[in-house]
Amino acid sequence: MAIERDPSQTERQLLDTIERAGRSPAGRTAVHLHLSALLPGNRPPAHLRIAGRLFVPLETAHHVQIFTLSNGDIVVLGKDMPEDEVDRIVHRVRALFERDPLAFTDFSEQEADPFVSWYALEVDYDDLRATAVRLLQDAERRRDVQRLAEKPPRPMQPADLDILQAKLSELDVRPMLRRQPCIRFQMKEAQVAFEEVFISMADVRQALAVDYDIFADRWLFQDLSRMLDGRALAGLPETAAAGKPDRLSLNLNLESLESSEYDMVVRSLRPGQTLIVEVQVIDVFSNLPAFQRARDSLRDDGHAILIDGLHPAVLGALDLGLLDPDWVKIVWHPELAAPQHPRKSEEFADLVNDFGGERVVLSRCDNETAILWGMSKNITAFQGRFLDAILGTVTMSKCPRAAACTMKDCVARRAALGGRLRAECPNPPGLDAVTSFAAPRRRV
């Protein structure tokens, strides 16, 4: 039987080592990097592992001890450490995480550096020990919570994908179709610019009793998405709410535009109704001519193409104007709004202007900060849970039968294209009734 390692073991070792070092503190130093305070998106385990590796040369050359803690923090402990060298490595780690506010926050003389703390054991022993005790307590608490929690699912393997694809071909995905509005803020009014339709992966996982992580590998998921495209497209024409919005967006692989299911969807559109096809940047760069052909032919037919899921940094790294999509969708990252972000705000606003602010959607806006930041960068179209909630609020305020519902219900029912969720609504037409509302005033 495999013995599971206690995740708080490193913290315990750290405390032991510090207590032992405290008996002869002369010349001993400790450096604590607060990597656990990075934004969650910036500290995947692989990145933290690499940060720890940068200290390895010290270990061999200067008998320095390195502790990679279970929360992601790193503590380096040694006697007569070459401080310049340690400082240089700390700088390197900081440079690796330069896109996170933790690394670039400007702190004054009196304040502590939020990224790193230095301890000279001769004077700071008590502080250091207290820190180590706190770290151990936190680790033990986390361990206890983890033991009760479900284990994180294992990553999907090719063999899983094979079985999943077979099961998927028999699955009725219609009740799993969801929509999310993209909302355009104009001077006085906010309007639904289009509704994105997608399959709820949570529902798919539940229906097929999938106990592994479908998203673990980008390429395997991309292959799965080819099949999902076909299923979603096949289910779409029959789904009630699909006929309502003037513009409908669909996440597709470029190759799916050649499918008969896609043709069926196009034929099922009512006059005046158009499509926006959302494609991934991997798909675009894997087959540029196919992208260019698809873009032109969609445009010829009055539809549009959108490049989805772009990190904001893409705007600076790639001339999107050359690809010339009708829209791009940029994913909101909380660090964007941090003051003193090294990527200057004006610069980003310029990039948005160069491409055309009206063609940019800021997605995954979970809070008002995202919207305000986007508006200050000349972005006017937004998508995300925060907007779903606003739309839910407006929907309820206009619904005569809203008294029986909660806002959470209303948002979930509006998101469903059909099936049980939508049927639960006491006033289903009300779910599609609101297509515009008064815009929040723009703050500059």
Partner: protein, 419 residues
């Protein structure tokens, strides 16, 4: 007409040749369009299951007599559509043959009942062209198809490992599926990759001086590997699963280099990697195994689609490997992708541009203008012209801002010098 066996595959084996022939035939009849017709049957719009191999053969067979005795012309396109050229004289015979074809594929929704389809009204299944009115439309479509032949290896797969063997070999076989991939993954665990490992030098070449090797690319020959493990499978037909396979290969190559099976490879080499592989434990082990000071002589080759797929991960990986001293090369750029990849903005040290025989013509055409501009703006010592099979490629490269070259021609020149 030849009786060709059409295996279940992503591209019709006669398609490329027929497309060229069709284009030529259209050119010749440009001034003589009166009473001439064409019809394109969109088998590609059908599901692959509803157009099995035997139906394709039956379909072609339907037109045998018309082709042999009545001058009707039949062309397969690469995507399994086919085109017929005929005149008003034999229009009725073509119509009746098309009835059979519609019947043959009646199981597919694309072949819906449309009463006028055989009277020259286009529908989902067939598009009609009256050449005296629609000649330009058909001509430009076919021209577009033929223009695509220039792309070396369709899809992302072959672009990466440029040494995958002749195109004719790659185009054979079934597409890679998840179940095959699972088997290959298992087989790779125990397979001896060393026999599939190839090397090719990247050299500085200025004027008539002899090539000066800069570093040696170490790569797994996908062509050989495919022949050994999946002889009937077309890897590039499924770019996503192929990418997954390259990640497995990354790990194997890193492990091989870490073990230092090959003692000649201690420095001055390059390897192909995925961004995610750089962030893996295997890479860290490899990094440990290099002797201090040799990191700067190792080049990591990454592909643009992989970089743009997760730019944040790329920036992190790039900063990390730069700190360790490695150099980063953006691999496999074609004239199409070149304009989008600004090595300065991406902070890469080198870019590798793929040579193809018609590159000079493309770059002087309107379609290639952006690529030509990108080459002019590129930094001479940072661009590698790869796949140079001929002296002409080198000469062109030297006239166009390149000083670094890779390819079979360089290998030939180098060989006597290495002895």
């Amino acid at each position: 007409m030849q009786d060709v066996i059409v295996p279940d595959q992503p591209e019709h084996p006669l398609g490329a040749a027929h497309e060229k022939r069709l284009l030529n035939d259209l050119k010749r009849s440009a001034s003589n369009t009166k009473g001439r017709w064409a019809v394109r049957i969109h088998l590609s719009r059908m599901k692959q299951q509803t157009r099995p191999e035997h139906s394709l053969r039956a379909c072609e067979h339907t037109f045998n007599t018309l082709v042999a005795r009545h001058g009707v012309r039949f062309y397969w396109l690469r995507n399994f559509d086919f085109v017929l050229l005929f005149t008003t004289l034999n229009a009725d015979m073509v119509r009746s043959a098309l009835v059979k074809v519609r019947f043959l594929f009646a199981g597919d929704p694309v072949v819906a009942d449309s009463p006028d389809a055989l009277q020259g009204v286009s529908d989902q299944f067939m598009t009609w062209y009256r050449l005296d009115a629609d000649y330009d439309r058909l001509f430009s479509q076919i021209q577009g198809l033929v223009a695509d032949h220039r792309r070396p290896g369709i899809g992302a797969g072959v672009r990466r490992h440029r040494h995958a063997g002749p195109i004719s070999q790659q185009r054979r076989g079934r597409p890679l599926t998840a179940s095959m991939l699972a088997k290959v993954e298992t087989a790779l665990v125990s397979a001896d990759l060393s026999s599939h490992v190839r090397r090719q030098s990247v050299c500085a070449l200025v004027g008539k001086a002899i090539p000066d090797p800069l570093f040696t690319e170490v790569f797994v020959s996908i062509g050989d590997l495919r022949e050994a493990m999946l002889p009937h499978v077309e890897l590039s037909a499924n770019p996503w699963l192929f990418q997954y396979l390259t990640q497995t290969l990354d790990r194997r190559v890193l492990a091989m280099l870490t073990r230092r099976d090959d003692r000649t490879l201690t420095q001055g080499f390059s390897i192909n990697l995925n961004v995610q592989s750089i962030l893996s434990e295997d890479f860290l082990k490899f990094d440990d195994s290099l002797s201090p000071g040799s990191h700067g002589t190792v080049v990591l080759e990454l592909r643009s689609e992989d970089i743009f797929a997760d730019l944040n991960a790329y920036f992190f990986a790039r900063d990390f490997v730069h700190q360790r001293g490695y150099r980063v090369c953006i691999d496999g750029l074609t004239w199409r992708s070149l304009p989008f990849v600004d090595s300065r903005r991406l902070g890469a040290d080198l870019v590798k541009v793929v040579w193809q025989d018609d590159l000079p013509q493309i770059l002087t055409s309107a379609a290639g203008a952006l690529a030509a501009r990108a080459l002019r703006l590129g930094t001479s010592g940072r661009m590698i012209l790869a796949r140079c099979d001929t002296d002409a490629a080198i000469r062109w490269g030297q006239d166009n801002n390149f000083t670094l070259f890779q390819g079979r021609h360089i290998d030939k020149v180098l060989k006597p010098l290495m002895l």
